[in-house]
Symmetry: none
Subunit: 156 residues, 2 copies
């Protein structure tokens, strides 16, 4: 249940050509408190309700529980979510024996592209593609929960 994720900015759009999967994601939050984030998500035709806890001090581990719900249930929940629903396309890209999930944001977060890789352990080694930019693991402003409150377009 504890996942190790590292997050990076993305320097170019070259990843799009090699993506093996592309999914529209719409999500909102029933709570954006970092200590008990509750997310509602529609991914393609599926719905999900996901709870996350605080990150560990090094930002690498975070408690997460995800339950699948129907798309209709997710649509109902999105109606009572906090303001700032996130709309993005997720590209999945193979890199060595890992998969990068790359989120291209729209709406108030247009212009932001973030890549995430899930690792088995802190020591797990992974290849670094050319398009991968600066690491932003643990930077709270890039959390989706924060992007819904303080979107990318307001950062400057």
């Amino acid at each position: 249940m504890v996942e190790i994720e590292r997050k990076f900015l993305v320097k170019s759009l070259d990843f799009k050509d090699i993506a093996f999967k592309k999914t529209r994601i719409i999500q909102g939050f029933l709570n954006t408190d970092k200590a008990r984030t509750v997310r509602v998500r529609i991914r393609g035709e599926q719905g999900f309700l996901t709870v996350k806890g605080l990150s560990s001090k090094d930002g690498l581990e975070r408690f997460e529980l995800e339950k699948e719900i129907t798309k209709a249930e997710a649509e109902s929940l999105l109606k009572i979510c906090e303001k700032g629903v996130i709309d993005k396309i997720r590209y999945e890209v193979l890199s060595g024996n890992h998969t990068f999930e790359i989120d291209e944001f729209f709406g108030d977060n247009q212009g932001l592209i973030v890549a995430e890789i899930e690792l088995q352990s802190k020591e797990d080694i992974f290849e670094t593609p050319e398009w991968l930019g600066k690491e932003i693991t643990g930077e709270i402003k890039y959390y989706n929960s924060q992007l819904s409150k303080y979107p990318f377009k307001l950062w400057k």
Copy 2:
């Protein structure tokens, strides 16, 4: 249907010998905002994650989505809930043709035991067991939502 419930303190532990059912209930909240309440509950060996929206203006309807989760999942979620997790054992006791639900609280509400009976109408007559104490129907401080914020141990 309008339920009529009357609530009482409990004077002795004699009810325990005649209870036909005993269930441990532990519950906490991932969000107490009335517009998007997210409750985690363990009831016996089952877990539940429940989302509720605002009540309609007439108070009769409230959006609710309840998903069963495992007890282990609920235990993990309780660790990240807001402060004031409620921990109690609910005893069910037959009395005449009614059932008393008696909640014995633990943790910060240790020492508090509350019995509740559901009646068909205001005129509905029920037997008064010896262990039944002072009536506390409608006293807000005994609401579970209040007990999690202002627990029994802080009352004096």
